[in-house]
């Protein structure tokens, strides 16, 4: 078995899990919901195995590097992190409906990586050969993944709170009846960001430590660094919004969605969009 087969299994499992989660919402059948969770676990295990195998394959080719060295590897690791955070939330809080809003992020990442990205294993240039790279990427991506979960939960919040207000406070039925209550959704949003924020903080700090170690400056305002700081500012605003009247609920949910959009731009947009302007952004 090689890693590419396992990556295909991962992609398929995330797709099926996503569809089954939607079937669960429409059918309200708990067994279908359980099935969707099991398929998510299968995908997660395959994803883990695939990353492990790819690590071994790189070593066999003589490259002593963790499988976090190019865009393809980072995207599949991002999908893995999203599942990690999602499954931890599922184990702890058991709100199954959330899967329908989180699995699409993981599936989108996997299908993009499998279809469009270059999966060749290539050696790292000297400037990137460092353990700091591994710490830096892992902390950042766990943070990003927690923000993805928060974003999914926030979308659910906005959908549900709108319908609930239209029904003037009466509990809403149908698919929305399967969602956790808006109070729980608001709390889960906060809980996810409570994990994501310290992780992003650690990601920025390990990035700075690495830059300082390798190049002698911990901060140089390059677009990637600056965008990670922008994301950090947005989530800091979110955390403080909770203590301020008039900023909870809807605005906090929008801030969380907005924060995730900025996260995605920080991760992909800086390289893909700004690279047209900056010579050093490509790749």
């Amino acid at each position: 078995m090689d890693s590419s087969l396992l990556f295909n299994i991962t992609t398929a499992a995330y797709f099926i899990a996503m569809v089954v989660f939607i079937a669960y919402l429409t059918s309200k059948n708990e067994q279908i919901g359980f099935g969707a969770t099991v398929i998510s676990w299968v995908g997660f295990v395959a994803n883990t195995g695939a990353i492990g195998l790819r690590w071994r394959e790189a070593y066999a080719m003589g490259f002593q590097q963790a499988p976090l060295s190019n865009l393809y590897e980072s995207v599949v690791f991002f999908a893995w992190s999203i599942l990690l955070i999602y499954l931890l939330f599922d184990l702890k809080y058991r709100y199954r409906a959330i899967g329908a809003f989180v699995l699409p992020f993981a599936f989108a990442g996997m299908i993009w990586a499998q279809w469009k990205l270059d999966a060749t294993i290539a050696p790292l240039v000297p400037a990137l050969q460092s353990n700091w790279l591994t710490y830096h990427v892992i902390t950042c991506f766990i943070g990003y993944a927690a923000f993805a979960v928060a974003c999914g939960v926030s979308i659910m919040y906005l959908v549900k709170v709108g319908k609930e207000e239209a029904a003037s406070g009466n509990p809403v039925g149908g698919i929305l009846g399967m969602f956790p209550s808006v109070k729980v959704l608001d709390d889960l949003n906060y809980k996810a960001i409570m994990i994501g924020f310290p992780m992003l903080t650690l990601g920025i700090i390990t990035g700075a430590a690495w830059a300082n170690y390798a190049w002698g400056t911990y901060w140089s305002w390059d677009p990637k660094e600056t965008w990670s700081l922008i994301v950090w500012f947005i989530y800091a605003a979110f955390l403080h919004a909770r203590f301020t009247r008039g900023w909870v609920g809807r605005r906090a949910a929008w801030l969380s969605i907005f924060g995730f959009a900025a996260t995605i731009f920080c991760y992909l947009g800086v390289n893909l969009v700004l690279s047209g302007l900056h010579s050093y952004g490509g790749g």
Binding site: V125, L202, A209, T217
Partner: protein, 457 residues
């Protein structure tokens, strides 16, 4: 005693407000975008040529908001300053309350206070004395939670126990850490520098050049490069690793030697030398063995790149190009032989790893490459930043503080034991300053334990 808030009070409230913090954070995020779209450190002309944007607009942005060095502009620094002032004022305003909560906890909980708690349990012990129940409850709390403080007042006994009081300070540690990082950055800006220097193999330097090309900065010692090495990935020109052997000299004495690599710098006296680039210093020298096909005679000859070296019989040769790695065959040179009347022969390649290969060319002169010596210079970045440890301290406190703020909570328990007509009444109440659901679960088991203990189980 209420009075109209005057201007100073209003200003103070403005600087203490959390709304200001949110707005400042969003403004910092929004304005920071500008500097990621406009390449910092370039000029409007360069940017216009690269992006095709209007030069007039870019010039306007440069003049009005200093868009080409915006992170050091007065307005961006002011925004940061406002942010810091906000943080300081807010902390000054709130800290005394937190300090009081922790240092002077409420030891005696009256009925009104119990009504404000969401976790309360009442038990009546039919047969028992106040002292006996007090000891039972105190033992229970000490075993399951924390040792209580006992207060006796008006024939009632009050117990108070707490855990995790320190987590109240997490937020303050996080906020202070931001200010510490700012201070570290300022120290680095005022007392540090960023510079670079190139050292040719075998030579030494005692000054470095700051970015922006002002006067060189004397180091106070000298640094010598003894050797430079570069290693390539098999069959490519991609450098795998490059390294320099450096020696530090003080008053002519060698005090430190170290081989530095891209991710492994040399540090001496608070100044750090980072391997950042390299290049050839002067022309390479090539050593050949040349065999004459007709006579079998061999000669040792050496040539610099581009130099014409005479051969027996009036001809000459010159090396025009060289590489460390020619298509997986290793080091190679491109060269040609000139006829005695000065006409250029066809260029050909000689491989160091295949000394007999050139004989197949069928020419009178058979070359084998014995050695290639290229002197290199090593390019070093030099940084001095006395503030960096302050920044790391701030980072550490930020992580520790936010973990404390998010994942620990201050849990408190109050107990009143009082005589009733039918025995002894025990009231237990508790609160947590965050993560209430988990505390409610904990309180539930504690309640059962209390009932069991008082029932003598």
């Amino acid at each position: 005693m209420s009075k109209e808030p005057n201007f100073v009070d209003r200003l103070w409230d403005f600087f203490c407000s959390l709304k200001l913090a949110i707005i400042t954070l969003i403004l910092l995020a929004a304005t920071s975008v500008i500097g990621t779209v406009i390449e910092q450190g370039t000029t409007p002309e360069e940017m216009a040529a690269k992006s095709g944007w209007s030069l007039d607009t870019l010039k306007f942005l440069d003049k009005s908001i200093n868009a080409f060095d915006m992170y050091h502009s007065w307005w961006f620094l002011s925004l940061m300053g406002l942010f810091a002032v906000n943080l300081i004022c807010c902390s000054i305003k709130r800290f005394p309350f937190v300090w009081k909560t922790v240092r002077e906890p409420r030891l005696v909980a009256d009925d009104g206070f119990f009504r404000s708690l969401s976790n309360v349990e009442e038990v009546v012990v039919a047969k028992g004395t106040i002292d006996g129940v007090r000891d039972q409850v105190a033992t229970l709390l000490q075993g399951k939670f924390a040792a209580p403080v006992v207060t006796e007042q008006d024939d009632k006994v009050y117990l108070y126990a707490e855990k995790g009081a320190i987590s109240r300070f997490g937020v303050y540690v996080t906020h202070a850490s931001i200010l510490i990082i700012f201070i570290g950055a300022m120290i680095g800006n005022v007392w540090g520098y960023k510079a670079y220097v190139n050292i040719v193999e075998g030579s030494a330097v005692d000054k470095v050049w700051p970015r922006g090309g002002k006067e060189p900065i004397p180091l106070g010692f000298s640094v010598r490069c003894d050797n430079f090495d570069v290693e390539f990935y098999d069959g490519t020109q991609r450098p795998k690793e490059f390294s320099s052997d450096l020696a530090v000299l003080q008053n002519g004495q060698e005090v430190l030697k170290k081989r530095i690599e891209v991710n492994d710098p040399l540090n001496f006296g608070g100044i750090t030398f980072y391997q950042s680039s390299y290049g050839p210093a002067g022309d390479a020298t090539f050593r050949f063995k040349v065999r004459l096909r007709s006579s079998g005679q061999t000669l040792d000859l050496s040539a610099r790149e581009g130099e014409h070296v005479p051969l027996p019989g009036g001809a000459s040769f010159a090396v025009t190009n060289s590489t460390e790695n020619y298509d997986k065959f290793g080091p190679a040179v491109q060269m040609h032989v000139n006829t005695p009347d000065g006409r250029h022969g066809n260029p050909f390649v000689v491989l160091k790893n295949f000394p007999d290969f050139d004989a197949q060319r069928g020419d009178e002169y058979i070359f084998s490459l014995v050695g290639m010596e290229q002197r290199y210079y090593t390019g070093l970045q030099v940084a001095k930043d006395p503030g960096v440890w302050v920044v790391w301290l701030g980072c550490f406190l930020m992580v520790a503080g936010s973990l404390g703020a998010f994942f620990l909570s201050h849990r408190r328990l109050w107990v009143v034991i009082q005589p009733l007509s039918k025995g002894v009444g025990v009231k237990l109440g508790g609160s947590a300053h965050r993560n209430q659901p988990a505390f409610a679960l904990y309180f539930d088991t504690l309640r059962k334990d209390l009932n069991d203990a008082l029932a003598g189980k």
